[in-house]
Symmetry: C2
Subunit: 135 residues, 2 copies
């Protein structure tokens, strides 16, 4: 693994009311809203909150999903990786279970993304950013 770089990017919490959660984390726990994405009814409403910029600091990803879920809807941990296809090959060779296969995202700043399960079934997102793991 010496050729791969990793960084924790976020911990995702699925929330019932995004405005309520943003209020809680900013007003009571001192976080700032770093980025928001609103798709409206039937889509995802997302806020990234934390104590420093996403490019260098870990954050919380709060997602209110107002549509259908294509798979079990639960929290996850996201790790930025310097070469996701190389990592995926290694994970596949080790029998790791994927909940979302390696894909090129339709938009945004990720070039590759996949979701895997750890031995207890916790979901881990591995994503490769256009500008490297510190972006």
């Amino acid at each position: 693994m010496s050729d791969l770089e990793f960084r924790f990017r976020h911990t995702m919490l699925p929330v019932g009311d995004l405005a309520r959660s943003v209020d809680f984390y900013t007003r009571l726990l001192g976080m700032k809203v770093l980025r928001e994405r609103t798709e409206g009814p039937g889509g995802h409403n997302v806020a990234y909150v934390g104590y420093g910029e996403e490019g260098t600091h870990p954050v919380l990803e709060l997602i209110e999903n107002t549509g259908n879920h294509d798979r079990e809807w639960k929290g996850h941990i996201a790790i930025a990786v310097s070469d996701v296809p190389a990592l995926v090959k290694k994970l596949e060779a080790n029998g790791v279970r994927f909940t979302k296969a390696l894909a090129e995202p339709k938009s945004g700043t990720n070039v590759f993304i996949a979701f895997i399960c750890d031995p207890d079934g916790f979901e881990i997102e591995v994503n490769q950013r256009r500008g490297g793991i510190y972006s």
Copy 2:
């Protein structure tokens, strides 16, 4: 909140087999074991794994609990706070639910610790470290 400092410290995952999880995160996802605590049968076996030292980097706290649980056994997010008693006063005044009241830990490097619930019931640990939030 301008007088309080915060930092994400870890995301805790309750695991079924600590050795299996440590193998997964170190061998496949490039993490290092930063700290371990083994209490043996009936207690908690804990490993902290991540990509940098706990004093400055977020980590995963993996806990295999071999004993009884005094409350619902699930993951949490831990935030280091510069003054936990002051924060707790504010949280109480705002009607936040506590799952573990403010206490002085029996041992270790924390001076104060409490567990609260966010609006969706996700558990947040707030802890005050003897050496400050970067320790």
